[in-house]
Symmetry: D2
Subunit: 478 residues, 4 copies
């Protein structure tokens, strides 16, 4: 959603009459309103609209653009058109009969699955969903930004068996996640062609995108899961999908296989490190710390998503639905500014995990982090030439000095010292080659809440994800 400032109201009998902004905004979101002389007094009106558009309905971004002449003007205080802040969005719920239909499907499923999307996080539905899962025993899978609504380390979390559960589930409860490319459009071959989907979304127009749901619930997720809990207790009080079910047994086989593969990769301590080895050092140290993890990159973001557990909701900021690179440092700085100023969250640490292609988009923001003395820990997974297009043999046979000349324009120079860039801005920079060095420097960074740090981790240039079932996923962003 987008709102652009200025005003275009009609003047009426000596009063300021307000234009029907909302409607115009929907019809022509990129329209630039003409600023009228009186607009400056009405900035609070626009701010209220911007906030409302941002938090009501499907949450999203508002953009207020103030023309230069407005920024340089001043008005008397008493001419300002003050507006009280918009209240929390009203809550909406589903019809009880639709809730029952959903429960009927779920309680009779052979292979049920709950997918927790970022909509569930935005709705602050963590308590209700936790209750629902623990009282039903259903397996759940979080999307990238749905992670932490229920802790990743919960025994019902089936992330390590993601491909399997998506492909085989016969009934899916979709809580605030979209069936877009991140979820393979909900379609075969990645989904069961006969899957029945119970779709819950606050945006009614979203209900049916790509797959027509068996039950469509247009409602606030917190409210609707509460309704599910109530009806469940009332009508299916004894239901429990226990771990002896075949579905659970199958899932556990897949989880264990995945875990073994990952364990092997973590244990491989050859240098330069592979991604799993490096991430395992970090994840070990993060235990017991309350952190907000920001992440962007390709392999870095994909592997990090599974290697760094989220135990609390809304604590992971990802490149999102459009996979836009360059957003990481900005996200990290915004999160750190909030933590700095709000005593309730000032104990949280911000970890910004970047691929070396991603960091290149906005590394100058490291200066901003230093200037405001924000104790963000930036971690760069530096594989010296991602997307170089060179195979292992060529890579090893070419002298380093010539690598830049041989590599394609999309490849990065080897051995860029991102740590020294951080030092140039007054923060702490670390170059890390071994698991031990990574352990020590990350620990040091965690213990220092006075300055920004950057840990530049040398990763093997040819390291990739563990093999995937679908070849196109091995190197894709997901």
């Amino acid at each position: 959603m987008l709102l652009i400032g200025g005003s275009c109201e009609q003047q009426q009998e000596g009063m300021e009459a307000f234009q029907e902004y909302h409607q115009v905004e929907h019809a022509r979101p990129f329209c630039k309103y003409s600023a009228r002389p009186s607009s400056i007094q009405r900035i609070p009106v626009f701010v209220e609209i911007a906030v409302r558009m941002s938090i009501y309905g499907r949450p999203g971004v508002s953009y207020l653009d103030f023309p230069a002449n407005m920024l340089n003007s001043s008005v008397s205080d008493d001419s300002i058109n003050w507006k009280s802040p918009c209240p929390d969005p009203p809550l909406i719920c589903a019809l009880t009969e639709d809730i029952r239909k959903a429960l009927d499907l779920l309680t009779t499923a052979e292979k049920p699955l709950v997918i927790i999307g970022k909509g569930a996080a935005y709705a602050r539905a963590e308590t209700e969903i936790f209750m629902f899962l623990t009282s039903t025993g259903f397996p759940f899978l979080p999307t990238p930004m749905g992670k932490g609504v229920v802790p990743d380390n919960h025994q019902l979390c089936v992330s390590p068996a993601r491909s399997k559960v998506l492909k085989e589930s016969d009934v899916i409860l979709l809580l605030g996640a979209r069936l877009n490319w991140i979820l393979h459009f909900g379609l075969p071959p990645r989904f069961n062609p006969n899957v029945k989907i119970i779709q819950v979304d606050i945006c009614m127009e979203e209900l049916g995108t790509n797959v027509q749901p068996s039950v469509a619930l247009a409602a606030d997720i917190k409210v609707v899961v509460n309704q599910l809990n109530t009806e469940l207790k009332r009508h299916a009080g004894n239901f429990f999908f226990d771990q002896n079910r075949n579905w659970w047994s199958d899932i556990h086989v897949a989880i264990n296989k995945n875990k073994s593969q990952v364990k092997l990769l973590c244990a491989d301590q050859s240098l330069p490190m592979n991604y799993y080895c490096a991430f395992s050092q970090i994840s070990g140290l993060l235990e017991g710390h309350d952190t907000i993890v920001v992440s962007e990159g390709a392999n870095t973001m994909d592997i990090g998503r599974s290697m760094l557990q989220s135990l609390l909701p809304r604590q992971r900021l990802d490149a999102g639905s459009f996979g836009t690179m360059g957003v990481g440092p900005g996200f990290a700085i915004a999160a750190a500014m909030i933590c700095k100023s709000d005593p309730e969250v000032k104990h949280k640490r911000i970890i910004c995990v970047e691929g070396d292609s991603a960091i290149g988009f906005s590394a100058m923001e490291l200066e901003t982090a230093c200037r405001y003395q924000l104790p963000i820990i930036f971690v760069v997974f530096n594989n010296n030439g991602i997307y170089s297009g060179l195979d292992a043999e060529s890579w090893n046979s070419i002298p380093e000095a010539e690598l830049a000349l041989v590599a394609p324009p999309t490849a990065l120079a080897p051995n860029i010292r991102y740590d020294k860039v951080m030092e140039a801005f007054g923060g702490r920079g670390y170059l890390v080659n071994t698991p031990e060095e990574l352990h020590q420097t990350f620990k040091a960074a965690l213990n220092d809440d006075t300055k920004s740090s950057l840990i530049n981790i040398l990763i093997h240039p040819l390291a990739t994800r563990r093999p995937q079932q679908y070849s196109w996923l091995t190197s894709s962003k997901m």
Copy 2:
């Protein structure tokens, strides 16, 4: 809402994967997707999206634009990507506690008012609203396209006291109407500055536009009014806002005053006729007929709105929120085509009431109506020079032959024979000067369901609306 055809999905493993259209559409509604070779097979997918966007959430228009090369192509039947039609929109309801807050406000109000907007009509909430009004005794006011949800001739309808009730009400239940210019933005001087608004809208972002509601209910209106009825019975079963209340007495004074004024105007049979006199002839004949009234114009639309009663919902099509002129004949033709092809509604007659400025925008559509033998009755209120800017004295002193040369470019030529235009296309045209002629010709038109008719009514060039409380309303569209 707007959706433009073509596709921009990514190709994935030999299958057609569907792009996340909805999201893209919200972000960039005017974006033109690139058509890919396979798009033609996927036309059903786009049609489903277009229909869904049009009926889910706030109802609106979808637009599918097929590139020329797609229109000229053909594909084998079995390659087509069929899609089942999207089901009716899911219903959403409000929290019971919010329903109670609304009832608390309404049942303790001194001067309550229910405003019925076109959202209530779209939601097909007529039965629920009728029950609510008759069991509470609240006065109600319909918006232009909310007319008929409850019949205009119901004793609780306070349209003739519109200005008064808007200005004085202390609690307003707003059912699917927007606080835009049509409702004076909900602001003083047209509204009570202390009015408490209970806003019901299916579009959550709309809740708070221009006025912050005391209770905001994001929900389907049919469902929410049903909730109101249930809670009312449960918690305030004895409540009734009877006609002895001061509020009702005051309203009746205003209604009677208005009715007397209108009666006088109707009785004034001097020639050329005034608007009220002409409309009273038509409204008399419409009694007992099931009609769809389409209307556009300035005075014609404004006065006609009060003079032509709507007794059924969704049977009045107006120039709408943007006041766009030229839409009337197209609306009338669309309505007539549906009535022609659907036995359930084929008894309905379409009346298209046009100002003589409005008819000029798309009078060539009369040819379309004739070509398809649609028995629409077009009525032109022809005041020979609306907006002429001439005062009575000048008007009378200038010879007719010179009038066109003296009048400003926005004025129309006197005595344009719209009836003869209709005859030129094969329909029936009538020129009408007196109330009697109008009565006879309109009766004849009603009795003829074989052809389009047009009645060209000569109206006094200086006739206007009855005097309004706010001067700017006397000649404005509302």
Copy 3:
């Protein structure tokens, strides 16, 4: 070119500093400037820019959009920022060496051709081009709106051999015409693949569109043809491409063949008339009259273009490069208003020749023509169902009453009385069936300069163009 009003200049030290409008306009032609309070005083500045953009460089349309609040404001006379009108565009000429290269190509060509485009008409280069053609003897071909720069009846005009000369010419002098779809992009199979083009255009960016010219002359056409004449006299004084050349003999064969075909069609007086028969009546009567011909339609425009000769430049207004339908009546009214107010041209008569599909787009403008008492002669070639998609047999076998129901939605109703529409607005309407009736009514209309007339000519529904070499042209607009 498009210019939208308002202003966005920076304020500087108490003076009005002018924004660099032109640059902004080129970069963002649809941008809406924010109106500043002072903008109303600067309307003359915008008007000057709009006029300049319209007549300098490649001529085109400017659009000034004044926001409503500007239209309703007033300012004191002495605060207005008057601006003197922009002078005539400066003239530019080509390098003499390029002129010589062009002449070398032309004087050594076996099959030379001069194409006269509307750019030549805009440049008012008629005298220079006439001199050039008569002193060289080259054949010439006008484009639709280049007609009349040299009279169509000049012996060097080869329009009747259009397809042949385009396909065979080895050197073409292109004077202000674009190689777009109207000229088949300058490419085979419609053009000789080895043709050498000497392109003259005032718009430098246009030089090379679709075909790379052998000589490119970015210059004012009046000036450059003058240069050609001067250099020709100086260096090739004896050159003359006489009628004994093979090229001329071949062309004459083609011309004569075409003329015989047309003569036959004109002589066919069976009813309803064919296009050629009807046009021959009109063209006969137009001889000796100074007229401006406006035309739009498909067959009507195509056949009329060859049947109605243009003897003077800038006296034919066509649907133009984009083939937009609905422009005819507006063009005719604009031309008539100018002729009415300017004594120098008030003897000219405006003839607006419309297909029956075309007139449907804006027939209500007939009312405007009548209101302003403009003696325009509208002619409708009414073939009762153009694009009906029916073959002759079906057409004849279907009863007229059912035709509208059988015909596709794009077909028009039979026997629409456009003449009666004109009468409804106060003009003179004629329905014409035979050549004799057409002769008499058109003569009557020409003799009446007090009112608008419309002649509704019944054309055989299956009449088309004479057969074309390329099948796609038989019914296409060109």
Copy 4:
């Protein structure tokens, strides 16, 4: 100018017919064409159009956007629609009579001035302009990117008296410069209200922007100055505007005053350095070197423009008409890539002079420069907090550690080590505090053509431009 790829042509009889791209592009420059299956074969067609649009008429940028599916496709070589490159733009000249009018004005002027814009540089008119100036003796003033067409150190260059000559000149020959904000719109109080302007521009629509010229010459500047030289010799062979004229005497007074002020500022060696002192070190070392200077910033760009002389045309790249920040490193890299690959220019050194606000926009491009081993010399004028809004007293009284917290968000952190950022990428970084250090490090950088260097010069935070006649210029970009 903007061109977006894809195609939207109509298909015609088995051939690929080309759409009239140019016209469409002018009308709707941001339009995205739909890519058709055959478009990939036609990429050369689009490239030719893009190049032509970029170099014909007013030179500018073209943008070709290839959809992803096109980038990943392949076609057989012989299906490609090759297109020969577009030739150099055709040259256009002015009418001889207009040339004479221009000379009449110039030779009778009391206070003539020649302004050399970047259009003169693009037209490669340096020889012709040099001849014109030396044979007439007129003073000349280059615009920022017109610098070097005639060397800045030529005795006729009056840049140090810029404000004076703009304000007093009575006749100005404007060669390819626009009267936009950079030239104060050509209006009082910065220009003589009675100045007569002879405007030469290849873009006809530009003639008259803001000021109506006395003589308007739409022509190629190289050609038109050649015409001026020819006509001057023919008709005013004895004319010479010698240094004894009052105008020259006045100018010299102004120049000398300016030079004294600058000299004083250069001589002020207090630390941190001021801009003039630092620039004088660099300019001294650049003598005798063939360099391309790229510059952006506020004071850095403004002062650098006068302190770094341009002796050759097209060797200064500035932030340009829109003053866009962030362009410097990209410009420098592009210039260095060309110099690296073309033996004719490989001796040239690229100097990129950046303000510390400007470098922040795209400092990550330093990595690109290092990766390609481009010997660019980046110079950062680091005043530790430009736009800090603090006055001298506050600045000095605040401890450095707290400065970042006190300063507004637009201020930069003090003592950012841009030199260390360069080192982090493998280039050479220098921190410079004194004039001597600057001298030595810049000399070292000039002598090293193997690597990128960055010199981080500490500038006094409160240093500004020398005082200007118009207060708003003292700190503005120009």
